[in-house]
């Protein structure tokens, strides 16, 4: 049974609480949305991510109070190259929402959300380490899994699986 095709029409999706809250706050912050396989994805404009997270965390009804995960996907050679992916969870309403920020390959920088969730610290360090995406305002942006003097960012698609020899 093939899955239903994704919905990406903002008008159809705007009843979703997270999307509605973001649109009501700043419609320019939302670049798009996608509903696929029962999961909601919202594309957020890169300069707004910290405020968007803070807003959803304090959402009066849904309060997405738990940061499940942050990760990154490298779509090289297409641009924008990187997608930083945030998974938020509302413990009271048992809802998940996925926020995405698209970044170009030339200067992958975005704002750190450690001031919203201090737990973002290790996740952001991991992305910095493995993808080379920088987070401005991060308290300690150093390599976390790879050795400090490692060259390159292993999870980028142009990094060979066997490593450089």
């Amino acid at each position: 049974m093939p899955p239903a095709p994704p919905i990406s029409d903002l008008d159809q999706l705007k009843t979703h609480p997270a999307l509605a809250a973001l649109l009501a706050w700043n419609a320019a912050a939302v670049e798009g949305a996608k509903f696929d396989r029962d999961e909601m994805t919202i594309y957020v404009e890169r300069s707004c991510i910290r405020e968007a997270c803070a807003l959803l965390r304090e959402h009066p009804e849904f309060e997405f109070n738990f940061l499940s995960d942050i990760t990154c996907v490298d779509w090289t050679p297409s641009e924008p190259r990187f997608e930083v992916v945030y998974h938020l969870l509302s413990m009271s309403k048992k809802e998940r929402v996925r926020l995405k920020v698209r970044l170009d390959g030339a200067s992958p920088v975005l704002e750190s959300i450690t001031s919203v969730w201090s737990g973002a610290n290790f996740f952001e360090r991991e992305i910095f380490d493995l993808f080379g995406v920088r987070f401005s305002g991060h308290p300690y942006l150093r390599r976390i899994l790879m050795p400090e003097d490692w060259e390159g960012h292993p999870l980028r698609k142009d990094y060979p699986v066997e490593g450089y020899r």
Binding site: S68, D69, M91, W117, I144, M146, P147, W150
Partner: protein, 401 residues
């Protein structure tokens, strides 16, 4: 040889403090966690965990494998609960494919998943007690763990790296006598948990070493992304099995133990209570085990039975194609979270429509839980650091991946 210099380096911030390096080979760090402590006498001023010693690049390796070839890699992430990892990955890919899993496979998954939780909690209880100085418990826990490992061996042929849950169902039917063995174990086990509790729960030395130690408030734990017993110990009542059920957990009756104080003792009580709840679920699963197939009806994804392969041309072709070319998965992305013994384990799988996953990311519960260590330990004694590390129940394989 350039990577042998231990980094990062912590500099003492004040005149009266010094830096103490703990690990990576310290027995109480449960693997290869290195912890840098800035201490003022016996008091910890600052604490910095240093991880990455077990980094094996599993996420990168996944991108070079077919979907079904990733399953054995997931075992090796969290080596104390391989079946939970198998389950989470299988669920994520099944969601991408839109597969229906037959009820018997779902019940078997719950049964084995709870046995895995028992296995993991037994190792935790034994080693945690050993860290704090209660030697006997370790031997008792490993006695029961041996039985659980034997069950894993019965179903999958492996004691630890099981790879038993596959995309679309389960590898094989459990062998004859398996359910009797499980039933027998489930009858014996509650008395064994009483034994552990007799040794620890009321023990004045144990209480002194754990009560009020390494406290963390619910707000701090939530902000730091802690989950599982580490979060519930602080009084947040949330369990993915109950609140966002997957693979048929909605058919089971169980309680979610919640603590109040957020100290080592509460986290200990929660895990011991979870042992009892898990064995209750194992009993329910064995009693209500439905009949039927154990694999989804999807010949292009699920390997055919050996018998069919020997008699039917069609089955042989499908087998050959799956093994040599894999199966393609419709483009898309899913995030699947499950409640592992340590907290929320999540798999984020991105597909670009080919036979290999474009990206597999594991949300490691321990990685987030480890961040609570600083809040728990700063301003407290060095001896409590060992208790705190033990009470978070870290598995370095999962943190480093």
């Amino acid at each position: 040889m350039a990577h042998l210099t231990p980094t990062p380096v912590l500099e003492p911030a004040q005149d009266r403090t010094m830096i103490l390096n703990m690990g990576p080979q310290h027995p109480s760090t449960h693997g290869v966690l290195r912890v840098l402590l800035e201490i003022d006498g016996e008091t910890v001023v600052r604490i910095m965990p240093d991880i990455g010693y077990l980094h094996t690049g599993i996420e990168k390796t996944c991108e070079a494998k077919f979907y079904q070839q990733v399953v054995p890699l997931t075992d090796r992430i969290d080596y104390l609960c391989p079946l939970t990892n198998n389950l989470c990955y299988a669920l994520a890919v099944e969601k991408l494919l839109g597969l229906e899993i037959p009820p018997k496979a779902q019940w078997l998954r719950v049964l084995l998943n709870e046995l895995t939780r028992i296995n993991s909690h037994l190792v935790w209880l034994g080693t945690h007690a050993l860290d704090i100085g209660a030697m006997t418990v370790f031997l008792y826990c490993f006695r029961e763990r041996e039985d659980v490992l034997r069950m894993f061996e019965m179903v999958s042929g492996q004691r630890m790296m099981t790879s038993y849950f596959r995309i679309g169902g389960i590898a094989l039917e459990p062998p004859l006598g398996f359910f009797d063995f499980v039933r027998n174990f489930a009858d014996r086990f509650p008395a064994r948990v009483d034994e552990y509790e007799n040794l620890l729960t009321g023990n004045p030395i144990w209480r002194m070493r754990t009560k009020g130690v390494a406290k963390i408030s619910a707000e701090d734990a939530l902000a730091l992304g802690a989950s599982g017993p580490t979060l519930r110990g602080s009084g947040v009542d949330f369990d993915l099995r109950r609140d966002m059920p997957y693979t048929g957990y909605e058919n089971f009756k169980f309680n979610v133990p919640v603590g109040q104080e957020g100290d080592v003792y509460d986290r200990y009580l929660i895990r011991v209570q979870e042992l009892r709840e898990s064995i209750g679920m194992v009993k329910q699963a064995v009693q209500g085990m439905p009949e039927g197939p154990i694999k989804a009806d999807a010949p292009k994804v699920v390997l055919p039975d050996r018998e069919k392969m020997k008699t039917q041309m069609e089955a042989l072709i499908y087998h050959f194609k799956i093994i040599t070319e894999g199966f393609s998965v419709p483009a898309g992305e899913v995030y699947q979270g499950v409640e592992s013994p340590r907290g929320e384990m999540g798999y984020y799988v991105v597909s670009d429509g080919t036979a290999k996953p474009y990206r597999v990311h594991m949300r490691a519960a321990c990685l987030a839980n480890l961040q609570t260590l600083a809040k728990m330990c700063e301003g407290r004694l060095i001896a409590d650091v060992v208790a705190a590390i033990g009470s978070i129940d870290i598995v370095l394989g999962e943190i480093d991946r």
